[in-house]
Amino acid sequence: MTLQISETAPPRAEKTRRKAPKVPLREQLIGWLFIGPFGVVFLAFLVAPLVYALYLSLFRKALIGGTSFVLLDNYTKAFTDPSFLDGAWFVIRFSLVLIPVQMLISLAMALILDIVTSAFARFSRLMIFLPYAIPAVIGALMWGFLYSKNFGPLGDIFGLFGASAPDFLSNDLIFYGLLNIVTWQWAGYYMIILYAALQGIDPTLYEAARIDGASTWQITLRIKIPLITPALLLILVFALIGTLQFFNEPKILRDLAAGAIGPDFTPNMYAYQQAFGLANFNYGSAISFALGGVVFVCVYVFLFATRKRGSFLS
């Protein structure tokens, strides 16, 4: 677990680029050969399916009347379809709550583990990371059972204080139930990324700060956090993309949360239902691309808003 993220890792290509010297053809060929294997897999398993899905999304197949070319009708339908819009609004709201919570928790844990250097810290680091090693499906099932009214422990625990347990699988609380599962699953992973970034900071900076009379608190706020901003932005983008494509956890919990999670709960679930439940592959593809559009807009807006912070993509 000695992951090192160098501060200046991504070389700033555009700044150092001069007029490229002419590379001999033979060397160019070797370059192509090296990326060949990757290129083949990339084209076959990423680009080709995407192009095919895009192609599918331009048609409409009806049970009666067969397939017809409809250009962007499926997209018009998606952006006026309450199922899609409600789902998209749900994942956006979910991101707005989830991402700050997740980042605060992982940042706090990383900072604490960075300061404490006992054997217990290594153990804690492993334990905090552990949920990420549990497959999402197993994690969701496990939490589903923990939330269960009939055989979950919540009822007993709250019973001790004479209170009735909250039902995290009900319509009102499912939002928080899912929030808890996702945070539990991912906070440890983000903690490791931030921890690695913290380990990459030159310790002489702390020394200099101490000589200047800075307290631990000041070192944390003024040195550590600003220096790991690129890593913070990185996990933010990861979390944003992941959350907008929310699928596994609600899909698994659907069977346990009676009625609280519909087939159109998130856009990805809706696309899945359209394609595989109702044989409407065309509309399913269109929803996937529409969701891709939403993700792109959200990420772009975010990167635009943080462009001055020296982000990792600049």
Binding site: P37, V40, I64, F145, L256, A258, F276
Partner: protein, 457 residues
């Protein structure tokens, strides 16, 4: 020295090339080898084929005793062997079949489907009409109503295996404790529920949003007829989901939920089953195959053994009782079968031998439609262990099956069920009334039908 990187790169590329070749080679074999579609060539069977020299037919099915059924068939048959896979129950299997239809490859030769889904797949030309492949020979083994449920117009798209005549399963201990007798009408059902609740008893039943077929059956019992569809006129469809009868039944159940008399748990879930085991529900409105399912899930064991009993389904009008059906499956030949005639032999022959049928009904995993079993005195008089020795077939299920007149299913069944599930969920949350649920359902399904190219009447 300069050659080395070049050679390495070339070697890598060749390696990648062979990998790609491998995968495309696999594709080639599975699509050309139509007999073993679905990646289920002989080596992928769940069962071992005793006579490997005979041609094999692939089959998807999820009956709990399917392994035995397949072995029986293979043992008895010298013409063809069955290669069986269980790809999931109900919806899971339909999703895979749906994907295989869209892909044009990957479906099995013979598939188990519930009778209510037959029009959905038939309209996509995914099933083969088997009326020319030996239907006449086995025609008399099943009642006319049974054939009716697997036919679309004059064409036969499946061989019936089991049905789901409905009854009311109840707990004798709870009924005794609160001094009630099995209700015969829905009004009595509500009264009994109120009695139990007023005495601080458990819930009386459950309105599961994920079993829309039950609600459909209960609406039909009140006189609703959700769909009118005829393949001779495939572009027209009649949809009546918000008539008075449909609304009344939704209002009735919505009312039970509102008064806290019945639960709102999804059925077939661990939460629901653990509730049944706990004795959280006094009744279970369900079909004849339910005891086998409940037993398999661990209900009725230990202290609960023999605590269950079954009574006929409560009626709206006791003078004119109506019996309804939930579930029941058939074997259909898919249009991807390489040899439909051979596949039809399997569809007709499997689960039709005495040993398999007897195993099925003694364990209550099926309510057989094959008349050889249905009219067998041993079946009719069976003292069902789950019901504490009650002659459930004779008293409840056989009369219900005989009075059942058949439903008209539509090619929109899957969408209709999904939409119903959504509305039942909202009804369970108390956010809409039963009438609103019916109206929304009607609008939703009508607009889907129009989008799919049907003319709605």
């Amino acid at each position: 020295m300069k050659r080395k990187p070049f050679l390495a790169a070339a070697a890598t590329l060749v390696l990648a090339g062979t990998l790609v070749a491998c995968s495309s080679g696999d594709d080639g074999t599975s699509s050309s080898d139509g007999g073993g579609g679905g990646g289920s060539d002989a080596s992928n069977c769940t069962n071992t084929i005793p006579k490997p020299d005979l041609p094999a037919v692939t089959l998807w099915a999820w009956y709990p005793n399917m392994e035995l059924v397949v072995d029986n068939f293979n043992e008895l048959n010298d013409e063809v062997q069955v290669c069986w896979t269980n790809v999931g129950e109900g919806g899971d299997e339909y999703e895979k079949f749906q994907t295989a239809i869209a892909a044009g490859t990957g479906a099995p030769d013979v598939i188990m489907i519930e009778a209510d889904r037959i029009p959905t797949f038939q309209v996509q030309d995914a099933l083969v009409d088997i009326s020319d492949y030996g239907y006449e020979d086995v025609k008399d083994d099943y009642s006319e109503g049974a054939w009716q449920d697997v036919s679309v117009g004059d064409a036969v798209y499946g061989v019936p295996v089991d049905g789901g005549p409905m009854g009311m399963i109840y707990r004798k201990d709870i009924f005794e404790q609160y001094g009630i007798t099995p209700p015969t009408t829905w009004a009595e059902y509500e009264q009994a529920a109120q009695t139990v609740r007023d005495a601080g008893g458990p819930l009386f039943g459950d309105l599961g949003a994920n079993v829309p077929a039950v609600m459909m059956a209960l609406q039909i019992q009140k006189g609703a007829s959700p769909f009118a569809y005829d393949t001779d006129d495939p572009e027209n469809i009649g949809i009546a989901l918000n008539d008075q009868a449909s609304k009344d039944v939704l209002e009735y159940w919505g009312g039970l939920v509102e008064k806290g008399l019945v639960g709102t748990q999804d059925q077939f879930t661990p939460e629901y089953i653990s509730g049944v085991i706990n004795g959280d529900y006094a009744t279970y409105i369900s079909a004849a195959w339910a005891p086998g399912y409940l037993t398999g899930a661990g209900v009725g064991e230990g202290a609960d053994s023999g605590q269950f009993a079954v009574a006929p389904l409560p009626q709206w009008d006791p003078a004119n009782p109506v019996q309804v059906n939930w579930g029941g499956s058939a074997f259909s030949v898919t249009s991807q079968a390489s040899d439909p005639e051979l596949a039809a032999k399997v569809a007709f022959g499997i689960y039709a031998d005495e040993a398999s049928l007897t195993d099925g009904w003694t364990n209550q995993v099926i309510f057989p439609l094959n008349l050889n079993a249905l009219e067998d005195p041993a079946f009719v008089d069976l003292e069902v262990e789950f019901f504490g020795g009650q002659q459930a077939n004779k008293e409840v299920y056989v009369p219900a099956a005989n009075a059942y007149e058949g439903f008209t299913y539509s090619p929109l069944q899957q969408y209709y069920y999904d939409a119903m599930t959504e509305q039942l969920g909202a009804l369970n949350q108390g956010s809409i009334t039963g009438s609103e649920a019916a109206d929304r359902l009607q609008d939703d399904v009508v607009s889907y039908a129009e989008e799919q190219g049907f003319t709605v009447q």
